[in-house]
């Protein structure tokens, strides 16, 4: 049985991804903040075909608990074939500009905690397994409207790039997932246009990238082109435009 650990399992993208693995009969270990919601999701995955489910509640910013939670997951499943780190928040950029304390806390949630978790997970993985994290296209270039989130995701992307090189020789695939706009509760208040994708579509892309052992996945694929264009705008022009 394919064994999956998902951190941030109550996020819309994580839940949709978990459903794909449940339909394949996988075992799923779900970690998140809200035990009730985790339990509801675990029951759902069970009906959808998951071979086994287990849940554990913790806050990613409680760094001192990382090893315990990972120990529990490994103890439960013996070995884990896929770890998906999917937690995140959408910081209020203006509030982060007004408070360094808030800025650092958000940076911790969206960047540092993932780095800490990946560091603790890496030595536990065996050849053939995958470590995946949801970063964002927002990490490819800092924009005035959300650079706190973007810079935290940039840290994740760069960290994962290095980790991928390091673990490649051990047969462990490290995947950086870069979704564009996704229609989730996190982005409820946004006006939706043609570039917006559903969590289901992103989930299918994630599973496909994991199956194919890819290193970086822009989801949907067209974001690769969009980000190439945005990355190539010269800084002297970029600083003047609004994005």
């Amino acid at each position: 049985m394919y064994r999956v650990l998902i951190i941030g399992a109550t996020s819309a993208i994580a839940e949709a991804t978990a459903r794909v693995y449940a339909a394949r009969g996988a075992a799923l270990y779900l970690v998140g903040r809200d035990l009730d919601r985790l339990s509801a999701i675990a029951a759902d995955l069970g009906v959808r075909g998951a071979g086994k489910t287990a849940v554990s509640a913790f806050d990613v910013n409680a760094y001192e608990r990382h090893q315990d939670v990972l120990d529990a997951a490994w103890a439960e499943f013996g070995q884990i074939d896929l770890v998906l780190i999917a937690h995140g928040t959408l910081p209020d950029q203006a509030a982060c500009e007004a408070s360094a304390e808030l800025a650092l806390r958000e940076f911790s949630t969206n960047g540092l905690s993932t780095i800490a978790l990946a560091t603790a997970i890496a030595p536990r993985l065996k050849s053939g397994s995958t470590l995946a994290a949801i970063s964002s296209v927002a990490g490819d270039r800092g924009r005035a409207s959300n650079y706190l989130y973007g810079s935290a995701k940039a840290a994740v992307s760069t960290f994962f790039s290095g980790l991928r090189q390091r673990l490649n020789a051990d047969g462990i695939n490290v995947l950086t997932i870069k979704p564009g706009f996704v229609d989730t509760p996190m982005t409820r208040s946004f006006k939706k246009g043609a570039l917006w994708a559903t969590p289901d579509r992103i989930a299918r892309g994630i599973v496909d990238a994991i199956d194919k052992r890819r290193g970086v996945a822009y989801l949907p694929w067209f974001w690769w082109g969009i980000m190439q264009a945005i990355k190539n705008i010269p800084e002297f022009v970029f600083r003047r435009i609004k994005l």
């Binding site: 999701i41 029951a43 009906v47």
Partner: protein
């Protein structure tokens, strides 16, 4: 993908705030003004709309809670679609006890309209297979309702007005596999339909007829009678490719369904089947949900949308009433792309406002051609009223309050159970 805030007929267009509920343990969101639950917008008119108010979008309540594959009892959140249920239950030998003609409706929507299918004569409505459901009311209370209770009778077929259904428990039915044994019989006139229907009610689980509503004179009411049963699962058979369903990619500037296209389409359909009788093995998806294969097909009616008119006429007046309606349509020449005829059985509905009742139901689609279409629909309503029949709220956008109130005489009893915070465009319209 239907955008919340629209109904399937795309008429009327309404402005409303959309507030999602995605966690079944959360309280009802606090909003100004009235709210109405919204499932997947597969109702045609304004019964799933709340103009200038709030729609409580419940599609995100899409988790299963428990499924016992030995007994077929399924508990799930109200935003789970019938398609989701089939996907998990059919491989384990279970199917929906009752299903409408699209699988993209939510469990909550199926309850709130107490939907029926082609097996009404044997299995009744969706509500007959409910064991219980939980209703979230605006006073913060949660009530688990079971058959026999007042709030259950008010909420089944209750048009979303008694509170938000957050989860439900239903009894699925055993099937041998995904295949259907379908017999199609061509018939030449309306009386043949009644004969075939009477004959097939005891022998076949599913019956329905398609009518060529452009035909006149002696061939008035000609069509195809389809009767079917679940067939033993046969692994050797080829499952139809549904991986890349077609879809209407955009809304054409005008309706593609019009006088010019309707007559040949209807005649073509009638003559498609050469032999008077044909037997086929058909995959359940093609049998139950032929239209689901074309995504967003409602767009083909253009930006002004379209109307469905579905009525039921009591047995004593059914023959003459249906003939009068078909005569009216054929005279009008506007036609209907689809005319579906079915006899309901005797099983009494459980809901105070449930649509199904003994008699014959006719369903018709009309592009919105402005005042002329409204006038035709009013003439059809007059025939329904005369016959002592009823129009289906799930398919309605314009019936008069007077027709509604006389066809649903239990409405005063129902009204006592309405949640004070809940309202809909439909309800305000028919209560004026």
């Amino acid at each position: 993908m239907t955008r919340p805030g629209q109904s399937w007929g795309r008429y009327p267009q309404a402005r409303q705030r959309i507030v999602p509920l995605t966690d079944r343990r959360q309280p009802l969101p606090q909003v100004d003004g009235s709210v109405l639950p919204y499932g997947n917008g597969r109702s045609y008119g304004d019964s799933c709309l709340n103009p200038d108010g709030t729609l409580l979008h419940l599609r995100g309540l899409d988790r299963f809670i428990a499924f016992d594959s030995a007994s077929g009892v399924l508990r799930c959140e109200a935003g789970v679609t019938l398609a989701d249920i089939i996907a998990i239950a059919l491989p384990q030998g279970w199917f929906l006890p009752v299903t409408p003609g699209t699988r993209y409706v939510t469990v909550g929507g199926a309850i709130a309209n107490d939907v029926h299918g082609k097996n009404h004569h044997g299995s009744g409505n969706f509500g007959h297979h409910l064991r219980c459901f939980e209703l979230l009311r605006s006073d913060g209370s949660r009530q688990v309702c079971a058959p026999g209770e007042d709030l259950f009778a008010a909420s089944v077929g209750g048009l979303g007005l008694t509170g938000a259904i957050v989860w439900a428990e239903l009894q699925l039915r055993r099937v041998p596999g995904p295949w259907m044994e379908v017999e199609s019989i061509r018939f030449g006139q309306l009386d043949d339909f009644f004969a075939l229907s009477a004959q097939s009610a005891h022998s076949h689980e599913y019956t329905v007829a398609w009518i060529d509503c452009m035909a006149r004179g002696r061939s008035l009411g000609r069509g195809h009678f389809l009767r079917a049963d679940h067939a033993p699962g046969d692994a050797g058979r080829h499952v139809p490719a549904s991986a890349t369903p077609m879809a209407m990619p955009f809304t054409p500037p005008m309706s593609l369904v019009n006088r010019l296209s309707l007559r040949p389409l209807n005649a073509l359909y009638y003559h498609r089947q050469r032999a008077p009788r044909r037997r086929d093995s058909v995959h359940y998806a093609n049998y139950f949900y032929p239209l689901d294969g074309i995504g967003d097909w409602n767009r083909m009616y253009g930006p002004r949308g379209f109307f469905q008119h579905q009525c039921v006429l009591p047995p004593a007046n059914a023959r003459d009433g249906i003939a009068a309606m078909l005569g009216e349509i054929s005279r009008d020449g506007g036609g209907s792309f689809l005319a579906v005829l079915k006899e309901f059985g005797e099983i009494p509905s459980l809901g105070l406002l449930s649509f199904p009742r003994p008699g014959t139901t006719l369903a018709l689609d009309f592009p919105n051609g402005g005042p002329a279409t409204f006038a035709l629909l009013d003439r059809l309503d007059a025939i329904v009223a005369e016959a002592g029949g009823a129009v289906y709220p799930a398919k309605d956008a314009r019936m008069s309050g007077r027709l509604f109130r006389s066809a649903y005489p239990q409405w005063p009893r129902f009204q006592a159970h309405i949640d004070p915070k809940f309202s809909s465009g439909f309800w305000r319209r028919v209560m004026e």
